[in-house]
Symmetry: C2
Subunit: 408 residues, 2 copies
């Protein structure tokens, strides 16, 4: 068995902690607040790239274009994010604008380029401002750059970045040190309806392109796919993983360096995902839900999703009320066959339900555990060996206020 | 073409408006408030009966028993509802208690009997109180009885009843007058986790038993299956339809009286369903959502469900904000293939989105329409001829308060 690699977290690390990357965050004027709203970041040469996009059936123009770009060639050098306007549900004009942005980025900063938008939907992009922003950013690339991770935010209340260093030992040669760094945005939705989640993760470790894609998908499954704030999938969600220059000794399947690299990429993506949930709109508590003993992965995920999205579970969490019946009822509402007599539930380390009925549990201890900021629920379906996990926020009056009480 | 029958609504009508039925609502002491909490109602003889039960995978003991009872023989004479305790997630003891209640009802009031529970879950029933309640109710059957519909309520703020009279003309004979009356409960959830919806509808029109079942399912599809308060399906949901004594001229398939009877049953069930949504917890507005132009019924229902359950749509509704992008994004999040360019959305009679982009709509008019208590949204998918409808409440701070801020 391989021992798990030692990961060294870098203080204030972000994507630009990875050698070869520079960035800029500028004020293009799209955000009325005047905050940084255009991020440009660039490697010193083309990098193998893989991406996961939203499953929403009516994605923003940038998502369709991004898919097309990476299908043509899994390689990127420059990435651009404009925040404040998602260029979603903007029809033919939106598609033309998305293409134009990518062209402008290639023209001013060099390609291959990927451009992503986040913010208001249904409103045409103010292209003049975006163009001036791209020009300004292309002329201001530095490393480090604090404004980079700020310029991709919308309703987020804080920057979300991290970076890690890991030592990987090839089959023949001395240990090598690599970095994995990333930044993300997401917290819920903004006026009038975005719930966009964006994440960009880079490493200087050389990885073969097909493996990069597999690595991204595996790491996404146990990070960004495990979080839920309000159950809506936005039109613009995008996660990109950028590898190091392939060089003459790239990491492929079976390479002894792969487990360590995968651990580092996964750790960075999990930390970014967790930062998004922690910054979830109106959040006062969060719940880690583990569904175990499922017949198969799909069943585990459906049950976890049903519990994590239940308004009744999320309001109980807001109230700090260890209302286990709501968790079991929501699980039983997932459309997955369940046997109540074989199912068990643990809240904050205490078995509260088994054999179809509540146990004689220590109510004071469970109440105290559930009053904490972070709550653990483990639901065992008693059917098999598959499992799933979700991090979910509570549903608070503040969440409703943020999403209901603004003027259009 | 048959003209639609004239339906005459009876003032203060309820299930007991149907000839042959008596009822009683008593205080058994299960509800700590001392409100009526045990309802017993009885026909003057056995009646053909059909029922639709919750799809929740861990149903309450009364649901399993009710299914068994009606599978054995589709006939009922006495029905009993105890409120304040759902006898759900109570294991082997709960199953024994459910059987015992049905036996007590048969013993004190006569069978065949169906007993239904609603209220707190995970707490054993105080059987002595229930038994005394059944005895008292069996000795107090009258018609009319105002407390009957009150005794089935939990967090509801009002009784939900109605009755209609309809004239049906057989193929050979003079017109006959029949009644359809019913009562329902449901508004959201109660401490600690019920979202139970119960409805009982009776008619004195003679109907063959298999037809009664088909009639119930068709009417449920366009009434109780079209409403959503918080997206959770409770462990105890039950809808029962009771026919008149079969006699020597029962209504079967092809009978000219059937369309009129179906219209009356559907009207009563729709009015009861609407009463549940109107009484939805914390509700300030409601939305009627029609999904049209779907490729098939299942796609229409999935899209409707995704929109009706979206926290972002429901908070926009709470804010009175005509945030059409949230509706389109939620529709596109249903897992149903959609083409944004063929989809269109009308809010309050104004086309706001088509061909993938917002129209140049009258924003003031749409804002005014959306500020009303009731809002109509019509989403056409542009793919076929199937449709679905949902009535949904808004998600308000009051809903969160009701469900989060109580003590266990």
């Amino acid at each position: 068995m391989a021992t798990s690699p030692h990961l060294e977290w870098l203080p204030d690390g972000d994507l630009l902690s990875v050698p070869g990357w520079r960035g800029a965050g500028v004020r293009s004027g799209v955000k009325e607040s005047g905050a940084p709203d255009l991020a440009l970041f660039q490697a010193d040469g083309p990098r193998p790239a893989a991406a996961v996009f939203t499953r929403n059936e009516i994605p923003a123009a940038c998502v369709d274009l991004g898919r097309e770009t990476l299908r043509r060639r899994a390689e990127l050098r420059t990435l651009c994010v404009n925040s404040g306007n998602a260029n979603a549900m903007t029809g033919a004009r939106g598609r033309a604008d998305a293409r134009r942005i990518a062209e402008l980025v290639e023209q001013h900063a060099g390609g291959p380029a990927l451009a992503v938008s986040t913010g208001v939907i249904g409103v045409p992009l103010p292209m003049e401002k975006v163009e001036r922003g791209i020009e300004a950013a292309a002329g201001a690339l530095t490393s480090p750059c604090h404004e980079l991770a700020e310029a991709i935010l919308t309703t987020d209340t804080c920057r979300k970045t991290c970076a890690v260093e890991v030592e990987l030992t090839p089959s023949d040669g001395p240990p090598q040190r690599f970095r994995v760094g990333g930044m993300a945005k997401g917290s819920g939705m903004i006026h009038p309806n975005m719930a966009t989640m964006l994440a960009f993760v880079a490493t200087d470790a050389p990885v073969e392109a097909p493996l990069l894609d597999a690595l991204l998908r595996r790491a996404t499954d146990v990070s960004f796919h495990e979080i839920s704030v309000d159950g809506d999938t936005s039109t613009n969600d995008t996660v990109v993983l950028l590898g190091g220059p392939e060089g003459d000794d790239p990491i492929g399947e079976g390479d002894p360096r792969l487990p360590g690299l995968e651990a580092a990429v996964t750790a960075v993506m999990q930390r970014l995902a967790r930062a998004i949930v922690l910054d979830g709109e109106g959040r006062s508590r969060l719940m880690e839900l583990r569904v175990t003993g499922a017949a198969d992965g799909e069943s585990a995920r459906r049950v976890a999703e049903s519990v994590a999205c239940s308004s009744l579970v999320k309001t109980a969490l807001a109230g700090g009320d260890p209302n286990w019946g709501r968790i079991v009822a929501a699980a039983a509402n997932a459309g997955v066959p369940l046997d109540g007599d074989r199912l068990s539930l643990e809240l904050c380390g205490h078995r509260v339900f088994e054999a179809g009925a509540p146990t004689d549990y220590d109510q004071a201890a469970v109440a105290a555990g559930f009053a904490a900021e972070e709550v653990l629920a483990v639901l065992d379906l008693g059917q098999g060996n598959a499992s799933a996990r979700r991090w979910t926020t509570d549903l608070t009056t503040e969440y409703v206020r943020l999403n209901a009480e603004y003027t259009t």
